[in-house]
Symmetry: C2
Subunit: 291 residues, 2 copies
């Protein structure tokens, strides 16, 4: 019998980003694999991106690229607002957006509303560098349904950040005009809201409808974009709803130490490639031509 | 025996983007699978991105997102140059960069030098929308080693575009200072060159060294970035070497009908996230602090 090579275990996590597209990450180990009352929670340790949090099969964050997403979600609106004192974060139980929000001295209180306390505790256990701000005295945590929470708030927040999972199952209400109306009502007159609205390559229809829904509620809607390598296609969008502030104007400087967001990145994020304009304004452009 | 579900063939193409990261595309069929004298050529038909060209296991282009890459490689330098008449494209046998280059009326002649004629013919057969400009009368095709071709050219080109595969095997010379010196010599005084220089997430060292190599040869080096969903991590970089023109200034408008590139995208491409500045200027920043 000939010499055999030593064999090694080949462990991979695979995300089905669409039925026809998948991302594979070599893993060293599975650190957590459980069902919460709301969703499946998986934590894997990868060679490429460090530890990764996966909810219902979809990557939420990786240690190595989470800064791209969390910095943009927080600072695009916080740096556009003249004085953001009250901040509401919806979803985002991992604490990444909260961590960025409390970097702003103007912020007096951040309320985090996530339906799934297990996600919050998972982040505390496995992602200390992401969840680190959850113990800050300016942070209030409400483990409950954000749809119910927002319904009862009036003229209270300067900033609302909707850090949702994909719009399926219990999170789908977070992409509906009814919810946007409640967010509008919960915002002060100068208020700004931001929501992640997926990829124009993988989910053009979803993006188009999210923007349409926001436009039916907010006086002004602006689309921004950025890269998040571990989200489908890497090209991610952020939709901003505003009552009267123009969020494209940066009114306060980037906090120190950011790695993706900067003063430059703020202004460029609102400039879109032509194919993205076509997705969100294609119908209007066609109607304008037909007139 | 119970009823069985009808089974279907589950065909996938998998790209190992790094040893620890892989991208999977569901395929309908394999259209071409051959070894050329230089590399393995694969063409697959996918549900997500249309037809895909793969060289030595690395995705070169997909029908659905090739515009992101080809438009940036061509127009970032062609729109920065006051009058780009002579263009040299190195690699890029698929013809995508050539297609974009001849959209500029100023361009009198484009020379395409690709070592592998089989790639050119594969594109002609399977990617007519990419290779369409190869028959244009302003286009000259030289199937030969670009290292040898460039060595013999002096003060001839306004623009040199290095559309190379990854820097392994026969393409590795295209990332060396010796080659950059020959490109410098082949350029006119107002000349600009651009090269794809990989992803700062997947290949930070390679990016840093490519910029360093270019800086050792060119009077001015500028880094630009953009998204290409099917390239590793989606975040791609383009390095521009210049003798005296500042490529950040757009001197000529975008050609009509572009989908990724635009006047806005030109100027923003040269504004980098802080973590990318750190990769290409980190050593300088540290030295400056130590002084």
């Amino acid at each position: 019998m000939g010499a055999m090579e030593r064999r090694v275990a080949d462990l991979w996590f695979t995300e089905y980003q669409t039925p026809n597209l998948r991302l594979g990450l070599r893993i060293r180990d599975v650190l957590l694999n459980k069902q919460s009352p709301y969703q499946h929670i998986l934590v894997v340790d990868t060679d490429q991106y460090g530890k990764v949090l996966v909810l219902d099969g979809a990557i939420q964050l990786t240690e190595n690229d989470e800064f791209c997403y969390h910095e943009m979600m927080a600072h695009l609106v916080l740096c556009a607002h003249p004085c953001p004192e009250r901040v509401l974060v919806i979803g985002g139980g991992d604490g990444g957006v909260v961590r960025e929000a409390i970097k702003h001295e103007a912020v007096k209180k951040v309320t985090l509303v996530d339906i799934d306390e297990d996600v919050i505790n998972t982040s505390r256990t496995f992602f200390p560098n992401v969840s680190c701000a959850l113990e800050d005295e300016r942070v209030e945590i409400k483990p409950m349904d954000a749809l119910l929470y927002v319904k009862e708030r009036f003229n209270e927040f300067d900033i609302v950040i909707i850090d949702s999972t994909d719009p399926v199952d219990f999170a789908s209400g977070l992409f509906e005009p009814e919810f946007y109306r409640d967010v509008h009502k919960a915002l002060k007159d100068n208020g700004l809201m931001i929501a992640q609205t997926e990829s124009p390559f993988a989910e053009p229809k979803l993006l188009s409808e999210a923007v349409k829904g926001l436009r039916s509620v907010f006086e002004n809607v602006y689309l921004a974009w950025g890269v998040v390598p571990t989200y489908p296609t890497g090209f991610w969008t952020y939709s901003v709803g505003s009552k009267n502030i123009d969020p494209r104007i940066q009114r306060r400087s980037a906090p120190k130490g950011t790695k993706y967001y900067s003063d430059d990145m703020h202004s460029l994020a609102f400039k879109l490639p032509p194919f993205v304009w076509e997705i969100i304004d294609g119908d209007n452009l066609k109607e304008a031509k037909a007139d």
